[in-house]
Amino acid sequence: MVEVKKLKKYFVLRGKGLWGKKYFVKAVDDVSFFVKEGQSIAIVGESGSGKSTLIRCINGLVKPTSGQVFLDGESVVGLKGNEYKEKVAKKVQMVFQDPTTSLNPRLRVFDIIVEPVLAQQRVPKAQLVDLVNDLLRKVGLDPKLSDRYPGELSGGQCQRVAIARALSVRPKVLLLDEPTSSLDVSVQAQVLKLLNELRQTFHLTYIFVSHDLGVVRNVAERVFVMYLGRIVEIGPTEEVIDQPLHPYTKLLIESIFYPDPNVEMKKPAIVEEVETTMNAGCRFKSRCPFSTKECEIYDMKPLEASRDRYVSCIKWEVMERWSS
């Protein structure tokens, strides 16, 4: 359904001073993966890992520096105008992190939801009304809300409107950029439940971006862990969270605060926060307690650890033996 091949996105920045040297920030660096139809995957990583840039490359909001994106087997990089509408906008829609900024405060809910539909073709008003009422009901909102403005709705209701908008063109893929991280705990649970239900009803493929492994566990079948523009680990959600292989994934898992009062506060592994290192070798080496000389020349090619599990670390086997 969605395939990404050797995708790279470098941002060019200038150093200090008038004639500062140009340098690159490799937001996404040589990432390849594919997502099967109906699957739900999560891209996990911290800020600066390139996860948001990566999903924006999929629907063309960000133009990749190089590499390919395929939707239904068709290459879609750089499409514009009608071709973009037909091959991308109709198939892939996105739900953003903060519903207070992703909904135009000056438009009514109705106009917000029909925007993607009207971008595709002209539709008679009566048909639009039916569509909006149906969508609002499906996302658990009262159709009466359709003439309200986003400012009159709560955060959770706004996010439901955003989901309704994304579904209005019946896409096959939903890109979800931290859809619950700006919501309150009780509302987050409502939205997650809704997303799980909608996936069944509409046979959707989900590509999630999140930093919250608790959310990921509940919505995703597979996890991609990203670190500084690279995918460092891929695998089924349960396996990755229960038995992480990459040292970075391990660090992430150790950082979780479980809602369980019997877990004792323990000293975190001292990992210096370092400047972003973009030079050769493993991206994680300067923070990794196991790094050696080999890591400086390792190109982070994913290694197959077991069936369906890939890890970008040459030390993983050594570490596994060491820890068991």
């Binding site: 705990v185 439940k193 608790g214 509940n218 229960d242 605060f257 479980y258 809602p259 019997n262 975190p268």
Partner: protein, 319 residues
Amino acid sequence: MNELVKFENYSLTFKTLYGDVRALRNLSFTINSGEIVALVGETGCGKTVTALSIIGLLPENASQTGKIFFKGVEVNHENVKRIRGKEVAIVFQDPTSSLNPLYSIEQQLVDVFVSRWDIPKSEAKEKIDGLLRQVQLFDVDRIRRAYPHELSGGMRQRVMIAMALACEPSLLIADEPTTALDVTVQRQILYLIWELQRARKFSVLFITHDLGIVAQLADRVVVMYAGNIVEMAPKKELFSNPLHPYTSGLLNCALDPRKKKLPEPIPGSLPSLTGLLDGCIFRERCGRVQNDCGILTPELAEVRPSHFVACHLWREQRG
């Protein structure tokens, strides 16, 4: 244990164009010295204004009733300045906006020392090294000279904690200090606060919506909903035996990455804080609502040892 901060029937109302917003209603709770109290609740439940009212940092349109005591003395306009930044230090959510971008870290730390302890600048400068090391910033020379934007988010938050420590406060208010940070950094910052608290025995009022953090950091938990305290108990008691339907709802919503268990959401959303409601504030979202809930406002009562709850379901068991 002696009481450091005590709220007594404290209410807070904001006058706005759209009517009076009852931000806090009849708050009564204490923070004992040497404990970490977590103030838990969702957006708009009043947890931040509760903290701000201790140090008198309220907007002009606020009007308050009830009393707040600090070390047994009632807090008022005059003595609040002796408390703020001296006895009580605060670490905010966003370290970027709490540091002055125009001064180096050293200058800002020196200012804190000078204003708190009234010591000469040279003496203050000598103290900085040790302080920075305490918050695990070891590259002291670089940090001293750095300006806030040259540091990472985690480092800035450590500097904020250092500034708070410089005051040697008896109460540290931490208002969601790690929400803006990455999870790996969050773990380090929270451990730092926890470790310092254990070593120095100051009290911490920790404001958060994250039950995971509460579970590991807090000694006692105060749960707030729409400006009311609905439940208050020691951590383990609260997690193992939540009494208020809102608390158990919250706990059911909390996601544990170790197991796949779809959360059971609390239906509905927050009630409006304008206007006065009789009865229980949570009744519209409550699954166990009774007749009384619409008429009588439940009062916070101790139904088990040091376990307080404001709910009619537990009325019979009141001591």
